[in-house]
């Protein structure tokens, strides 16, 4: 009898060690993108911290000038008087200010406004950010959607009267700065033609309506957002239209479009299913950057319409050299821009695996 050897035990793969797990995580595309994002936020925050302090004139300097002009104080007396008004010590070494700032930041504390005593930067951001997200976010959504659709149609029917006419309009709109656009609309339609009361489009909501989740309050919010949204859409839509048109034209030259036409697919199917989807891809990164900047608001438009957004507060903070408020708002903008870019990177990598492989993930 021949002894039958016992079948060899299947060799199980060695259990992954902690180190190998960590190595796997650190080599992952997701990890690298997020780490890169965090480092970018730190670098930008540090850069803006020092840049802000390099700006001519501190909040103290501005007050000192005012006191010297109005009260004829000497510089030293004005300095002492100004020091009583601000939560800020200009003599503190900048590096020490920086370490304090980073320490507080790690604890989630953005500090207090320098020029507005007893007001925390976080409270300013929390109060005004939703307005900006709503107004500029809505405007971006409208501008992007309309821009993509119009640009797609222009590219597909390039050379038509529609293409030529809209190209002219889009070029004109993209060349007019937003503040000029705002002024023109207010002066021409508000003052000259009297289509609306100029004062009735200022602010974020009718001050006489009690705040609450009521139809009147919501309608008022929409009414007051109309003008800033309109200006933002008009001043940004031209760029989306022209970019989408250009992307559509280059997509139309691809072989798969010719094949789709040869297969006898309907124009609508080709336009939406083949041209539109592919032409839109290059605009996603641009959209991601725009989404990131939504939180910063639109400084000039918000100031023109006295809209209670973060952009207007940034304007006020810069004018008054309110360092801490500026830092806080820039930090929020940085985080938003970086993370929207990360999301765009991840989305593109998910849509197109070649991106991950190209960037080293095996």
């Amino acid at each position: 009898m021949t002894a039958v050897a016992a079948p060899p035990k299947p060799v199980s793969a060695p259990a992954p060690t902690l180190i190998s797990r960590i190595r796997r995580i650190t080599r992952s595309y997701f990890f690298r993108v997020v780490l890169q994002g965090l480092l970018t936020i730190w670098a930008v925050t540090t850069f803006t911290f020092f840049l802000i302090r390099e700006m001519p004139g501190s909040p103290m300097d501005i007050k000192i000038s005012e006191l010297m002009d109005r009260q004829n104080l000497t510089y030293d007396d004005a300095y002492r008087a100004a020091a009583t008004l601000f939560n800020f010590d200009p003599d503190k070494p900048v590096l020490l200010q920086y370490t304090d700032f980073i320490g507080d930041l790690l604890r989630g504390d953005l500090g207090g406004s320098i020029t507005r005593a007893n007001v925390s930067v976080l409270s300013i951001i929390l109060r005004y950010l939703p307005w900006t997200l709503f107004c500029v976010g809505l405007a971006l959504l409208i501008s992007f959607t309309l821009g993509i659709l119009i640009g797609l149609a222009m590219g597909y029917w390039r050379g038509s009267w529609f293409d030529n006419f809209i190209t002219g309009i889009a070029s004109l709109l993209s060349g007019i700065p937003d503040y000029i656009m705002a002024l023109l609309i207010v002066i021409i339609f508000g003052v000259q033609l009297g289509w609306f009361q100029v004062g009735a489009v200022r602010g974020g909501v009718d001050q006489t309506i009690e705040a609450g989740f009521t139809p009147e309050y919501i309608a008022s919010i929409l009414q007051y957002a109309f003008m800033p949204v309109l200006v933002y859409v008009l001043s940004s839509i031209g760029t989306w239209i022209l970019a989408m048109k250009s992307s559509t034209i280059s997509t139309l030259g691809e072989d798969y479009i010719t094949v789709a036409k040869a297969r006898g697919l309907s124009e609508g199917r080709i336009l939406t299913g083949y041209v539109g989807r592919n032409a839109m891809l290059p605009l996603i990164t641009r959209l991601a950057i725009s989404v990131g900047f939504v939180v910063g608001g639109s400084v000039i438009i918000e100031e023109m319409f006295q809209y209670p957004g973060l952009g207007r507060n940034l304007y006020i903070a810069i004018a008054g050299r309110d360092y801490t408020t500026m830092q806080g708002i820039f930090l929020v903008i940085t985080i938003a821009v970086v993370f929207s870019n990360i999301l765009a990177d991840l989305a593109i990598a998910w849509l197109d695996p070649r991106v991950r492989i190209d960037k080293g993930e095996k």
């Binding site: 700006m55 001519p56 004139g57 300097d61 501005i62 007050k63 000038s65 010297m68 002009d69 009260q71 004829n72 104080l73 000497t74 510089y75 030293d76 007396d77 300095y79 002492r80 008087a81 009583t84 008004l85 601000f86 406004s113 020029t115 507005r116 005593a117 007893n118 007001v119 409270s123 300013i124 109060r127 005004y128 002024l183 207010v186 002066i187 508000g190 003052v191 009297g194 009361q197 100029v198 004062g199 200022r202 602010g203 974020g204 001050q207 100031e303 023109m304 006295q306 809209y307 209670p308 207007r312 507060n313 006020i316 050299r321």
Partner: protein, 588 residues
Amino acid sequence: MKRNAALVALLCVIALVFAVVPSPAAAQDAPTGQWLGTWPYAAPGTHNLNSFAAGGLNDNLGVVYRPLVELTPAFYLWASKEYAPILAESWGFVDDNAAYEYTLKEGATWSNGDPITTQDVVDTFTIGRILGWTQWTYLTSVEAVDERTVRFNFTENGASLNAERQLLKEHVVASANYGELATQAREVIDSGATSDSEEWAAVRTAITEFRPEELIASGPYTYTLDDVGEAFMTLRWQPNSLYSGTVKFGELKLWGGETEVTTPLVLSGELAHSTNVYPPATIESFAAEGIRLVTVPRGYGPALLFNFSVAPFDNVLVRQAMAHAINREQSALLTNGLGASGTVYMSGILDSQAPNLISQETLDALNKYEYNLEGAAALMEEAGFTRNADGKWADAEGNTIDVEYTFPADFADFSAAARDASAQLNEFGFNVTERALPWQEARDAILAGNFELSVWSWGAGSPFAFQNFNNPLRRWTSATLADDQPGLNLDISALEVDGETVDLNDLILNVSGGLDPAVQQERADRIAQIINAGMYYIPLNEMLSVEPLNEASIGGAPADGDPIYANPSNDHFAIYLILNGTLFPAGQ
């Protein structure tokens, strides 16, 4: 029957009480109509009602509207050089000028119904002492003589007309809000602590961090934080003020924002009066819309500043030549259109005030530096310069005058003045290069002495010579600057004038001292002569405030030329005319 009689008696007593005790709210009907003004107040969330803190009443209501909420003792009428009573009924120097007293009007009450007493005044100044108010440079103490009379005790030689103005212009705040802080302040002061002590700093912090829940007003208008919106804030009439019965507006609606934001509102008629500085073209469009424009002194003008460490500006002949080479009427026109006038007297005091503060004899004798290119050329030649082949002035070694003129790009008026002066000087034979900077950087450049030519303000909205002479000669020199700030690089405490050394700093510091206007005029004459001859800066023009006053909304405004319009912006005519009921809603 007994019960009924008792009830009737009780009702009678109640009726009697209501009849005898005046109820301010019932005593006068609320006026109707809106004043449509503007002020760049702090937005909701950062707005506070503290009279002493940043973001508080001073910032939110400014020089025009704060006096309608927190009354001052008196209001200065510039044309007649008299004070009109507001919260006080009488005032004056006492005890051989060792002190000053004013007496509050009888029946003055706060918006909460409390009487306004001298305790309120004492508390106001006690807090001001902790905050380092200028008044405490000449005061030793403030005390209540009785319920209505308050006494300000002066340091030796502290009495002056300037001091009187500062005391009568200071807003009085309510002890009901600030009394506790004033008590803390008194304890620290009485303990002998100095202003750099920790105790002093602690009270100072407590004062600036205090956030009153309610604004207790002495004026006929008040507001709550609920009245502050993003686009506008509303001051509402209150019945308990001395002036509640005289004012004609039920509300003062103040639009937020600066010039560019308020322009469309003025044009559309939704803003009736504004103190913003509008560009000449905008002013013209207001006039084209039929909006009345009222012109008042602004209390400053742009001046060409020299860096005295840069040749040839250390040479008085060159400075005088430059003064002759600049057409100041043109400068005024280009600076602010109708809202500016070319400087005439070149005395160091604004032309609108010079005849009040300098004798006519001296004014007549001053060099007016008329626009005279030939005279300017003669002075340049006397200074050792000759024109080269390019028509540019060159010194004996052939060096032309190549200089940079820095100016604040964001101040439209100063920019225009500087650019015009550059163009005129280049026309005359200089090589001036314009350099636009953010205003903070332009100011820092002057402080650091890091400029060649620059522009900043001269004069002051004050009826006293000191404030006028102070700016810019003390404002930008070692007389007021820190040790590491050379400013104009000019030592005004040791100027060579007619072969002798003159302490101009000392002369300016003392020009408005004492109580005798004649003596003050003599001193001002002397300083004006020194400044006129030395031409230490060129006062290019005097700015005027051209303010839209839409008569479709506001009635009762006096005709142009009325003495009230002699008041500059910081003693604004609207304060007085609203309080005394001269201005009213149009159509009433």
